[in-house]
Symmetry: C2
Subunit: 278 residues, 2 copies
Amino acid sequence: MLDSVNRLQIGAFSRLTHLSIKTLRYYHEIGLLEPAGVDPTSGYRYYSTEQAQTAQLVRRFRDLEMPVADVKAVLAAPDQDSRDRILAGHLDRLRLQLSQTEASVDSLRRMLDGSIGQVLIAERELPRAITLSVAADVSRAELGAWWRDALQHLHAIATDVGAEPTGPAGGVYEDGLFTDDQGWARAYLPVQNTARISGLECRYELPAGRYAVASYDGPHSDADRVYAALGTYAAESGRDAPGPVREHYLTGLLDTPDQSEWHTEICWPLAEPTSSSR
Amino acid sequence: MLDSVNRLQIGAFSRLTHLSIKTLRYYHEIGLLEPAGVDPTSGYRYYSTEQAQTAQLVRRFRDLEMPVADVKAVLAAPDQDSRDRILAGHLDRLRLQLSQTEASVDSLRRMLDGSIGQVLIAERELPRAITLSVAADVSRAELGAWWRDALQHLHAIATDVGAEPTGPAGGVYEDGLFTDDQGWARAYLPVQNTARISGLECRYELPAGRYAVASYDGPHSDADRVYAALGTYAAESGRDAPGPVREHYLTGLLDTPDQSEWHTEICWPLAEPTSSSR
DNA sequence: TTGCTCCTCACGTCACGTGAGGTGGC
DNA sequence: TTGCTCCTCACGTCACGTGAGGTGGC
């Protein structure tokens, strides 16, 4: 297998594969690409020409920023199917990332253009409400994917129990999601026939409360502007309160895939105005 | 400036800006986003609501993976023009990155499809040649951009001295570029009327030598397959020689922007077959 | 007073790169 | 024998995140 002519030192293998020597040593260390042989006394690594194939694949995957652990999984995949699944998963992530980048560029442009209007804020007393709901402790990175699943799940349940939603879907987001990139998120669907769902695990009673409310059109990537406006309003009126923010998806994913047509309401909790808090 | 109602603790500011507390502390530490005030005894950071604007911008830029140093530069930019220039530069980088990612995906697909043919290798004696040439010590990351500039520069000079190129442009690449991600690269244009250019600084005499030569069609991102094939050939015939690789751009950037129409020749140096090297 | 928010400091992460100091193979 | 290639080891980079242990403000 490692006869003299098919036995490459790390430098030669590096020239073959366009992986730097440092990178090859690192891939050896973490077990991603083991040399065909290692001289026990000198520690010299020796590669075979056949390994260039694998190295080539690794380089492609890493070029696509696939995490090393995933590359390992692809190489270790027992069959073509599981291999394809990991790859497809990564390509999906790339697509998602691309669309997010595009959204960020657009959003940045709007910010710099000054083509973003004033945010209109109204105070509102939100009433108690019965909902079908699921909650989970998620990281900010997972939030989007989790939401898709949660909403679909809720609609399936609503159909099952014959409960027509009485209003737009909403979400409740714990502070930790923003301050710590990790916290509880809740998706809900307001419903009416409480009898049928009173026994269900996913029954959730949305508490009443006073909120500063603002709405905006367009993709969710612009939401932070509204958060800033609401937070500023609450702070400047001396009624900033820690507590979960609520969002109402008046027009959202379920209505149209075109994010520019989305319409969202953000509700920032207000503390009771106390005489001391001036 | 920091009256009691416009004075946010880090947690409140985090909720406003969607920058995590850890991130805000980090941005303070590196001087990217300084709190409006810091309590000297408790060390508490206090932010003003006006800072949300800046924080918002920072978040957008970081979402676009702009390096923190560049974000700093954008914020410190004295006028709109220099600001726009940095931003445009970054957007260009993003575009480039996107096209490279697409090329990698395509290339990966071709590899997995098996829709890449056999690489045909021929041995050739390349003759001595006079060229107009520039060289530089570059990193692999810079190589592409450097090449564009170098080639343009060479053509400008060729026009200046009235030297018609006598063949396709080429490049010479030191091993270190692949093994160390850093090394000498040379771009050249073969020319004929040596009299006119004999005194020029950019005159370069390409040495003769024996090479294993293979050519391929399509974008340069597929080149590594050919490198692997050539390196394997050289190794298995026992004549692997360290030394710079040469590339000939038979059809390239100057002829068409459509990379799928490109045609490239790669020349791998061969060592003299010695009797000892079997 | 309690408990929540905030603080610092040290260390970890990811995928390598840098550089020192030293040995091995042709 | 020379010099080039290779080796290990420790530390650095980038932009934060994790967690311990402790103080401060309402």
